[in-house]
């Protein structure tokens, strides 16, 4: 029985606040394992078939890479080389030599390399997905069936899948994909992260989604996490009106971020280069809450000069006259090593000489950067704030603030990413001007889960009550000491979590510019008292999943009562 017959709606976890209407298309199922039957064609013929399919698959993958461009092209080029790999070809031929079919030999050869990579673990192990994808494509070519992967129709559609792998999402044509629905995977799955980053409407973990029929029209509502699988004409018309109204609102002149009771919550942008400044202003950014300066340093084997840096900082500050711009001092280490800062290999780079620790060990580089920033500030009208990455002690807070002031920085602060710093925020904040909480690293350190490692990605959820309690500590200290507390990181881009963070004491929120419109709309729905109530609900939960569910329920209950009131009026 299909879901259409039952007429029941599907319930999952919605990502963001979007709404979409359209026909669904399912991701084709993976191919069954080729049977291990003896070849009837003979080894020579099988070898020719295998070589042909491997070459054709490599050419096909390379073509897809050309079309995708950017980072996807690099990933796909590597996949094409896997299909052409001479060692793999030798292995395939050896297996064919024992009487196997080309399909079976290809399947087994890829599987053996896959197992080897998985056994190596970590980042190598994650290449196994790419290898599986290549294997499936070669076998599909040999069997003359459609290659698995994301469908590419020439009309807009809603993609339904069990879960999406990075290899699938790399090629998603975002102009064609109206929404994503997955049957598996939770709010921290790759699909959810992608949806949040690109502002795609998504409902994940919707059990029963795989029973939907291709081209069946559905309405996807991320706010409630509901997929209406048999919408009436009226349902569809209403949804389309709402979508149009939201699109108009997103393009309308945007006001400053504030709660329903008028409490101001400035919404700022996270930027990684000065080029992103103007698009961010157009999306309504009221300033910059996190400007990453690594890009200035990554291309070189030595730090750029004061003059070179000053020119880049001036370009950034000029885009925000009279606005706040928070610049983070160089944050090297762990996932972004810089040879001139720290060349020593480390067992646990995330726990090593990084952030302010690395800068302190190379103080001339820090002094140059602060001098360049102070000079750029003097030459422009922006309100420049500078913060130190990964501060973990009171003493580091004092050190950075003193040095920054000495070199002409007017407002100096610290990033709170380490639990120790959050717990002692009441002692760290008196030593400095402000705090900005980096939720990605704070989550990684609180849950002791490497944020770059797929196998522990389910721990990387900023809704976790332990993380929120730490945020609350910083919020409380900020309120008592009258020091601003901001949030920069993935967490602020999740609209409902943004409300919770304000309830925990955050004064400003900084996020990728794509998330500004949804967060602004969500903040306007609730008062500060409600935000505090949501924060209490989340803090008293036992897990990230429970915290999110409790707040979603409370928020939906409130929305329902509002619409009832409106109807009565």
């Amino acid at each position: 029985m299909s879901a259409t017959d039952s007429g029941l709606n599907l319930q999952g976890v919605g990502i963001g606040r979007g709404l979409a209407v359209g026909p669904i298309l399912r991701m084709p199922d993976p191919l069954p394992e080729p049977a291990d039957a003896a070849s009837s064609l003979g080894a020579d013929a099988e070898k020719v078939r295998a070589a042909g399919a491997l070459a054709a698959t490599a050419a096909d993958i390379r073509l897809r890479g050309e079309r995708a461009g950017g980072a996807a092209k690099d990933v796909l080029d590597a996949s094409a080389f896997m299909a052409e790999d001479p060692t793999l070809r030798d292995d395939v031929n050896a297996r064919i030599g024992t009487g196997k079919t080309a399909e079976r030999a290809v399947f087994e050869a890829f599987a053996s390399f896959r197992d080897m990579l998985v056994a190596m673990g970590g980042y190598m192990g994650e290449r196994a997905t790419d290898l599986d994808d290549v294997s499936q494509r070669v076998v599909a070519h040999l069997q003359g069936v459609a290659a698995p992967g994301v469908p590419t129709p020439d009309y807009p559609f809603i993609l339904v899948a069990r879960d999406l792998a990075p290899a699938d999402t790399a090629l998603l044509d975002l102009d064609k994909v109206l929404a994503l629905i997955t049957s598996d995977g939770g709010p921290t799955s790759h699909t959810a992260i992608l949806a949040r980053e690109k502002s795609i409407v998504a409902v994940v973990g919707a059990a029963g989604a795989l029973q939907l029929d291709d081209d069946q029209i559905v309405v996807v509502d991320a706010t409630s996490g509901v997929v209406n699988v048999s919408p009436t004409d009226e349902d569809q018309a209403t949804a389309k009106e709402t979508i149009a109204a939201r699109a108009a609102a997103a393009h309308a002149p945007v006001g400053p971020g504030k709660l329903a009771d008028g409490t101001s919550v400035p919404l700022l942008a996270n930027l990684g280069s000065a080029d992103g400044a103007l698009p961010a202003v157009e999306k309504g950014a009221e300033g910059v809450g996190l400007f990453r300066t690594e890009f200035l340093f990554l291309d070189s084997d030595k730090a750029p000069t004061v003059e070179e840096q000053q020119a880049k900082y001036t370009q950034l500050l000029e885009a925000f006259p009279g606005k706040k711009v928070v610049v983070r001092a160089l944050d090297a280490g762990a996932d972004k090593p810089l040879s001139f800062l720290n060349d020593e290999p480390e067992e646990n780079p995330a726990l090593g000489l990084r952030g302010i620790r690395a800068l302190r060990a190379n103080e001339p580089i820090l002094r140059d950067q602060l001098t360049a920033l102070a000079n750029a500030d003097a030459a422009t009208d922006a309100d420049l704030w500078v913060m130190a990455p990964m501060v973990s002690t009171v003493e580091e807070s004092r050190y950075f603030t003193k040095l920054a002031k000495e070199l002409g920085i007017k407002t100096a602060g610290v990033m709170i990413e380490v639990p120790a710093a959050a717990l002692l925020a009441d002692r760290i904040l008196p030593e400095t001007d402000f705090a900005s909480i980096g939720t990605n690293d704070l989550t990684q350190y609180t849950l002791a889960a490497d944020r770059l490692l797929g196998s522990v990605s389910s721990f990387q959820d900023p809704w976790h009550p332990a993380v929120l309690r730490l945020v609350g500590e910083v919020g409380k200290a900020g309120a008592v000491l009258d020091k601003p507390v901001g949030i920069c990181g993935e967490a602020a881009a999740d609209p409902l979590l943004a409300v919770v963070l304000v309830g925990l004491g955050a004064n400003t929120l900084s996020m990728s510019p794509a998330a500004l419109a949804d967060v602004r709309a969500e903040l306007a729905r609730f008062t500060l008292d409600q935000a505090k109530e949501f924060a209490e609900l989340a803090l008293s939960a036992n897990s990230a999943v429970e915290a999110r569910a409790a707040v979603v329920n409370a928020a939906n209950a409130f929305t329902t009562s509002i619409s009832t009131i409106t109807e009565t009026d």
Partner: protein, 87 residues
């Protein structure tokens, strides 16, 4: 037989992108080149072999080959590995 020892310069080691560029350079050289790290030796034209060595930033590897222009080819490949392709 010519060989060279090189220290890997790419910040993230020989992962997908630098590995493909390297394999492409080896394939274009037309020679059969071997790459070894520690006591493991692989065909340098094999991306799966290259990935399986798990080569990190700062690792020392050895390239070896035989052929007419072996020295030139190894000079080019060493220069490639000695450059940071994550920059």
């Amino acid at each position: 037989m010519a060989d060279r020892s090189v220290t890997i310069a790419s910040a993230h080691g020989l992962h997908a992108r630098p590995a493909s560029l390297f394999v492409q350079a080896v394939t274009n050289s037309g020679l059969s080149v071997e790459l070894s790290k520690g006591d493991k030796k692989i065909n340098a034209a094999s991306i799966l072999g290259v990935i399986s060595l798990g080569i990190q930033h700062g690792d020392e590897v050895t390239l070896s080959t035989v052929g007419d222009n072996a020295e030139t080819v190894l000079d080019d490949l060493s220069a490639f590995l000695g450059t940071d392709h994550d920059a």
